[in-house]
């Protein structure tokens, strides 16, 4: 049986084959298989919903990890993309009756445009100033939406609906069938992680990493910093936007709260826990984050305090996140079990 499996695998292109052979590849495949089986193992809608939230946060955090871990641009305002795309997706579905995937793509594209708008002033800011600048931008958007400022300018139906303080509601789910909703979200998550990982491993990824490691040196090597920084913001914005659109459809609506800095911090916490500059570490981080959030649901007020303490512990003891040390420990355990 194992031989047949091996023959099947040898039909794949070589670098995928190499990846499957590694421990990391095998564990990832096992996790993916388990994940895909979840909707078959349980009918509990609530439980499936937690998994959906986990997958959406994975995409969101991965987009942040891409920007911070591979291009060195640390944004404290990633909620902007979540919110913009969430609103656009929600609005186009509710008012134009578009198919979910079209609305999602439109939402993500508008988020990309915001990536461009944010990227341009971001060019001049570095480190803590970039963090503050992006935080400020997300706060401005939050205020604009929560005060309904634009709804007064944009009188009439568009105004009140799009910019009203109640947000947009009655957004339909991706599918009435929770299994389909789950599988689609799972596929989008895998695709997003794959694409982001592929970009980081490409030549463009090498250029991005050079900007992260030494901007002046990258410039002295002939790299156009402006061009590549803007690309990076746009790519990150796109995937954060995908997460935002999925968010709107999962929770059946959006409101100004989606622009809160809290969501931006969620991305950062998830990446800190899962591992910066790993892309797939966001999955581990999001899993821990979402599921421990459920356990701490009783202690709602204290939960943020607990998260903060956990985060501090992580930063102190697992500086580069959990992904690598966990993989190493599991691999050791596996070796011991096999008697090596």
């Amino acid at each position: 049986m194992v031989k047949k499996l091996e023959e099947k695998i040898s039909a794949f292109p070589s670098y995928i084959r190499d990846w499957i052979k590694t421990f990391r590849g095998k564990i990832t495949i096992v996790c993916l298989i388990i994940l895909s089986l979840i909707p078959l193992l349980t009918q509990n809608k609530y439980f499936i919903g937690i998994f959906l939230t986990f997958m959406i946060y994975t995409i969101f955090a991965a987009s942040w990890d891409f920007l911070a871990g591979f291009v060195g641009q640390i944004s404290f305002g990633h909620a902007i993309f979540l919110g913009i795309s969430g609103y656009v997706t929600a609005y186009t579905i509710v008012n134009f009756n578009l198919a979910w995937w079209l609305a999602l793509l439109i939402g993500a594209t508008i988020a990309v445009l915001f990536g461009l708008i944010i990227g341009i002033p971001a060019l001049r800011l570095k480190g803590p100033y970039l963090a503050l600048g992006t935080l400020a931008m997300s706060l401005i958007l939050f205020q604009v939406f929560i005060m309904g400022t634009l709804s007064r300018w944009w009188e009439g139906t568009i105004g009140t609906e799009l910019f009203g303080t109640d947000g947009i509601s009655k957004v339909p789910l991706i599918s009435q069938d929770p299994v389909i909703e789950y599988i689609i979200t799972l596929l989008i998550m895998c695709l997003s992680l794959l694409i982001l990982t592929h970009i980081t491993k490409s030549n463009t990824g090498t250029i991005f990493k050079s900007i992260r490691d030494d901007e002046t040196g990258a410039e002295a090597s002939g790299i156009n910093l402006t061009k590549y920084k803007i690309y990076a913001f746009m790519i990150s914005g796109f995937f954060a936007g995908i997460a935002g659109g999925l968010f709107a459809m999962r929770f059946r609506g959006v409101n100004p709260g989606i622009f809160q800095p809290l969501y931006s911090f969620y991305a950062i916490i998830i990446v800190a826990v899962g591992g910066i500059a790993t892309i797939s570490g966001s999955a581990i981080g999001a899993f821990i984050f979402v599921f421990s959030g459920e356990f701490l649901r009783e202690t709602l007020d204290v939960s943020l305090l607990i998260f903060s303490i956990i985060l501090i512990l992580f930063v102190r003891f697992a500086e580069h996140g959990l992904l690598k040390p966990t993989l190493e420990r599991i691999q050791e355990l596996w070796d011991i079990l096999l008697g090596r």
């Binding site: 030549n203 090498t206 250029i207 990493k209 050079s210 992260r212 490691d213 030494d214 002046t216 040196g217 990258a218 410039e219 002295a220 090597s221 002939g222 790299i223 156009n224 910093l225």
Partner: protein, 247 residues
């Protein structure tokens, strides 16, 4: 032999301090030229002005007949000027091969590198600077001499016509200096115009046929190393007043 770099009346002030003062000089194509001057003479600032990292207050710089004054650094690199830095810099978290690949991926470097494949081309540059056996190592653990070689390699990735080397020997042991010297000689023999600064004068003086001296931002004199070393003002600049007796 034409002029590849023409600097005319270049001046740069930093709130009260004039780092480069009405400096004019020509670097000729294919030549090997040195720029000397004591610490603080303005050599690095001059390089920063040429490479676009600083903008001059007045004056012009022409490269290959083209006015490049105040152009952005990456544009200047893509026109054919590459430089190394006095304080070694590298892409700390990437392998040596990737370090070189970055410049091979610049628009100018890519044109050449594409024909051979980016990785292959970067490998050949690593081999040329003598670091190919460390291709998969990140720069963090390298000794200083290897880091200087890496810098030169990174500059080569952009396929430069003119190479500006800022203090390539500083902080190096005698052997390491020899290694860099051989490398630079080979590059020059391949047709790259080399303009280097130094204040490790012994190495420099044996290496270059022509030298220009700078002091307090001003042009002092130029000529063969022996002549310049015996110039009164140069001696005074390096050794203090009264040293013109040594000329």
């Amino acid at each position: 032999m034409g002029v590849i770099l023409e600097i005319k009346n270049l001046t740069k002030k930093f709130s009260g301090l004039t780092a480069v003062n009405d400096f004019s000089f020509e670097v000729r194509r294919g030549e090997f030229t040195g720029l000397i001057g004591p610490n603080g003479a303005g050599k690095t600032t001059l390089f920063n002005l040429i490479s676009g990292h600083e903008k001059p207050n007045s004056g012009t710089i022409r490269f290959d007949g083209r006015d490049i004054t105040g152009m952005k650094p990456h544009k200047i690199v893509n026109l054919g000027i590459a430089r190394t830095f006095q304080l070694v810099r590298s892409f700390r978290f990437m392998t040596l091969l990737d370090n070189i690949s970055v410049s091979c991926l610049s628009p100018r470097g890519k044109k050449v590198a594409k024909e051979y494949g980016i990785d292959e081309y970067a490998s050949s540059i690593l081999a040329a600077v003598g670091l190919v056996d460390k291709a998969r190592i990140p720069p963090i653990i390298l000794p200083h001499g290897d880091l200087r070689k890496l810098q030169i390699g990174k500059a080569l990735g952009t396929n430069p016509q003119l190479l500006l080397l800022d203090e390539p020997f500083s902080g190096l042991s005698h052997e390491e200096q020899k290694g860099i010297t051989d490398l630079i000689i080979r590059l020059h023999a391949d047709g790259v115009t080399v303009f280097m600064t130094g204040h490790v004068l012994r190495e420099l003086m044996h290496l270059v046929p022509r030298v220009v001296a700078m002091h307090q931002g001003k042009y002092i004199t130029e000529g063969p190393p022996q002549e310049v070393a015996n110039n009164k003002i140069v001696l005074e600049a390096y050794l203090g007043k009264g040293s013109e007796q040594l000329a």
